[in-house]
Symmetry: C2
Amino acid sequence: MNNYIWFPIVVGLLAILFAAYLARYVLSKDTGTPAMRKVADAIYEGAIAFLNRQYRTIAVLAVAAAIVVAIVLGLIGQGTSADKISLSWHTALAFLIGAFCSGVSGYIGMLVAVRSNIRTASAARRSLGEALMVSLRGGAVSGFLVVALSLLGVSLVFLTYGGLGGTAQIMAAPSLIVGFGFGASFVALFAQLGGGIYTKAADVGADLVGKIEAGIPEDDPRNPAVIADLVGDNVGDCAGRGADLFESTTAENIGTMILGVALFQVTGNIGWILFPLVMGSFGLLASAVGLLYIRPGVVTEPDQANGRDPGSIAMSQLNIGYYITCALSAVGIFIGSYLLLNVTNLSTGQAINSSGLPSWVWFGLAGCVGILLSIAFLYITQYYTAGSWRPVQEIAGATITGPATTIITGISIAFECVAVPVLAICAALGLSYFLGSRVEMGTHGIISVGGIFGTASATVGMLMSCAYVLAMDTFGPITDNAGGITEMGGESGAVRDITDALDGVGNTTKALTKGYGIGSAALAAFLLFSAYLDVLYQYKHNVSVYSVDLANITVFIAALIGITLIFFFSSLAIRAVGTAAKAMISEVRRQFKENPKIMAERPEDRVDPDYRRCVDISTQGALRAMIFPGLVAVVTPILVGTILGTQAAAAMLMVGTMGGIVLALFLNNGGGAWDNAKKYIEAGNLRINAEGEVDPNGAIHGKGSEEHKASVVGDTVGDPFKDTAGPSLHVLIKLLSTITLVLAPLYIFLHP
Amino acid sequence: MNNYIWFPIVVGLLAILFAAYLARYVLSKDTGTPAMRKVADAIYEGAIAFLNRQYRTIAVLAVAAAIVVAIVLGLIGQGTSADKISLSWHTALAFLIGAFCSGVSGYIGMLVAVRSNIRTASAARRSLGEALMVSLRGGAVSGFLVVALSLLGVSLVFLTYGGLGGTAQIMAAPSLIVGFGFGASFVALFAQLGGGIYTKAADVGADLVGKIEAGIPEDDPRNPAVIADLVGDNVGDCAGRGADLFESTTAENIGTMILGVALFQVTGNIGWILFPLVMGSFGLLASAVGLLYIRPGVVTEPDQANGRDPGSIAMSQLNIGYYITCALSAVGIFIGSYLLLNVTNLSTGQAINSSGLPSWVWFGLAGCVGILLSIAFLYITQYYTAGSWRPVQEIAGATITGPATTIITGISIAFECVAVPVLAICAALGLSYFLGSRVEMGTHGIISVGGIFGTASATVGMLMSCAYVLAMDTFGPITDNAGGITEMGGESGAVRDITDALDGVGNTTKALTKGYGIGSAALAAFLLFSAYLDVLYQYKHNVSVYSVDLANITVFIAALIGITLIFFFSSLAIRAVGTAAKAMISEVRRQFKENPKIMAERPEDRVDPDYRRCVDISTQGALRAMIFPGLVAVVTPILVGTILGTQAAAAMLMVGTMGGIVLALFLNNGGGAWDNAKKYIEAGNLRINAEGEVDPNGAIHGKGSEEHKASVVGDTVGDPFKDTAGPSLHVLIKLLSTITLVLAPLYIFLHP
């Protein structure tokens, strides 16, 4: 059974080779016209400059954090001083490795993404199929690297920390790895915050001064902030979400492994610990198959499409690839459960049937619940953020009475769209717990061990498609950039039609990834919470740690602070965008004023604005603005844990996570709905009759109308919601888990 | 000790006489000019018409609910069928009495408020002092009636249900009274929802069509919705908040009494049960003294004020009255603790010293914590919503870059302003628990009984000033209306200055009351939650009911649904405003179009618009729109309790309450800040230099500027936040408590 540890390592290495193959494929494509190259080079430069400075800042912060963690764990805690020093350096080293892997996967993924944009733009001159394939594969480099490095990192650290040693070593190893997860969370928090602030500061600056004050269109080369805006799409969506999902898959692996330790102890079967790693590898293989399915041969080109919209053609291909990935994942999870999760009677060696079925069937079914949840989230997110359904249309209709009603309606939709996803999460949690609890493996207090592992299996199942989903996500900024490059490179209308369509699909896939991210974070939350209680039990050997009792006043207070942290952190994230955007607005205004030639009447008289300065200002602003929210997010849970104790830390984590799930859904879906309401109006779908009411037979009120202006206000308000605060909350709730896991010994020391 | 039950009854009756005296004082004042009377009569008519229809609807719903409750409790539950039938009719009857008392206090309070407005307007022609006194006393009728009827109702029901009987009867009585609290909550929910929807539908309609489309000023008689808008201030703020605080004080009394039962059982001292009623009576006396302090003799008139703003003169008088009330309450709580809460050794009859001090000192100190919290909330709310501090000024500054940044900044302020109040609540809870737990009275599981009663004492202390705070709150709509009446009645500038200043003060006091409402609801939450666990224990006699363990999956799911309900309910409340406002907008547009004489150039050619139709439309819209959100609020907790069981119901209540506190703070303070940012600009405080930056030496950008328009958008967005959704959440979280308390026997029956 031990040998299964080699499976994730081999598959992880293969996945890196696969990513290299994809990168080579993309880079072998041509880079279009000189005009296109000029734009693309500016984006590339700006993105790399930002990333270099950002990761330098993060590296300094991470090393400082690692030193603090090492000192804290080395000085205090339980056991002999050798024990403490071992825990101390193992955790700090794992922290640094986790931070490094997260950084590397984000960096390389970005490097390829900002070279894929121009190649997508160029391919769009030839065919939809080729453009789709280039952009998706460019995004997949990031997707496969993220999952592979997470798997490899966790597996290798586990191996090095005694994963093939004696029972005691195996049992200790997962707890030593939590540092890896904390490192990943730490980097993810700053990567997402910094990227999210950058992208929206640039976007708001470009829109407010360029579009509204100067009246020039989106992606116009005369706008000094246009390159910063295009860079922002990469650093926010690609690097940020990459770090986010790196953390998700890492945290989920480690959480499941810690739960597996307790089962390993009972059954002597290391399969419980290795399960998430092996399933993650299966998921990588499934994602590769799903991805390879999409090729020009299966794509109907626009000229043969009988008027079918190229966007919907591309979207349906992406969907098919996703279904293939999910179907293979479902098969995989049954195989994996069969191989690894058979509950055997230790004395006879026979598999035990639970409730009439072998245990692997139950866990396989629980895994399928997770896969189904990921598909459900796809539909729910589309309903709330795509123009074909009520919510977006309602917001578009509300633009008739101006920006105030646009905002009010959007906020009410945002509050509303929390309900169905949460019910889906509750159903998935309850069902997977129920399925798992059919396997009779005893209880911790009132908690069924099988039930908890059922929720773990669901989380594992949901995250098997992670690489594919991340490929679809990074597809978003690539196609967005490709649109900008064709526009600014002066390409023809047919080419623009293709890149515009892909850009629209990219907006949808970005929204889907956020839904996926929050859904998987919610599932993982219960798991990580249970893992934390397991860790407490390992130290305290007292079953009362399994109770987190809200009737206890310190637990109650901690829970209330947890949900407040979520709100306060959102405030800081949104405010940071405002601060960074203000500098950008002044700069764009300054350029227009001091250099009137930028806006010269005749194109031949025009000079280029100073793009680089705008990029610099966004970079500085974002890096400065990300520090304070990041520190608040790190310090608050530590304060609560040290002052109020272990159970209070658990409550803060738990209720903070609930608040985070709900508020992230509010922010992400609200922002997405406003964005698409604007697109809905721009596409000429809003028709108004003489009475000023929405009417399918009325006149079209499109770009430039008062309704459109109101929708731009809505979109601008939604920008920091969906691209800064919302995604940062995903990271925050996982950070709460990993920080609590890592610092458990400290809390126990202070509150024995 | 039994005789203390007569104290709240006597004081309650005296308070009603006092309210009658205040009403007579107000009604004895003159009603100004015929022009003023015309406006005031229209407001009066509209308000009464709405209230009559609203309470008729609520009465039907309440009777239906009472029947359902009676049937459910009569058919299922524990004990003999005589027990069940007794519980059934006691609860249903208490429900109806509670509903009736809440309705009556709201109705009569309103009746006086809508007659005080014109008298305030008329008094303003003579002096600031007289206008302040008339409006405050008009508001105080509502304040004293609310608290007095709640005290009388609870005391009399307690008495009738066996409060002076044998030990067993005394112990059973508080649980029988919970129906009274549920009835109050039920009415409050619909009163607040209906009133909140009405006021904002009218306001949004009047603003959007009147101010923005037709370009006429606020409170202009040409606006068909102007009367509906003025009516709305009364039905939303006066009747709604009255019902809200009726429920607060009722729920807190009942919760404390239930906790007192357990202590009565141990000590044989009925003082534990009577404590909240006696303290409430003390509070009424203290509020009366604070109120009577404010009289023309202590007010500096504008002509002798050396340029001091009449608003700040009036506000400082109100503050002095409040401090008097608080100081007397603090003295009262020590006296009350001394008389009622001495822990005595049953065998010797001697008072037991706890931690070196008599127990009454500890509980008195805990009560003072509550009083201090109410003062802290006064300052915190002012900081976040008044123009003199950073938050409002930041929003005002953000108007320079348009409505989008105005909204973004406002939302970030709204998220931010959650933190300090929650920390204050946590500190108050923790401290009062600590103080109470010094009194050694044993534990329930890990909960200190003394500690819980400490939090109860803090809640009691905070709510002692309820009548005074409510007087300040109802002062708001009265002065708002007075402003409208002077404006439409064509009074001189000096009179307008006084009513405008009082109107501004009213906005502040309205915001303060909301802060007070949510703060006391938060304190009471922990108490009501503990009372629910006590009720469970009375049925189950198993100490495990005192644990609400988030590690249990059903508890976790229920908690997640609890917080989701808060968001979903907010969506419904905001959406209801939109629906009702739409009808209003169409109607106002129709009148302007079909009757151009309304806007005739020369005043003598003008005809009055049809105010009554607008009032009708708001009334119908609000009544129709309040039903669905109300039903969702009532049905969801019942479903969770019946499907997931008693502990899940507790978790939903608990985490739902936390979410409600945080979101209500977000909505109330955010809305208040936007409102005052607009006022800040209208007052000419926004100065902008040539670079487009805020600058104390820049030019004033006031009414009519682009900045002002952006601030109007912010204000409009904030309207349903602060006047519909936020206050309705106050009611919702208390409804969650009372519904859970009343239906505990059902949940236990289904999940024994």
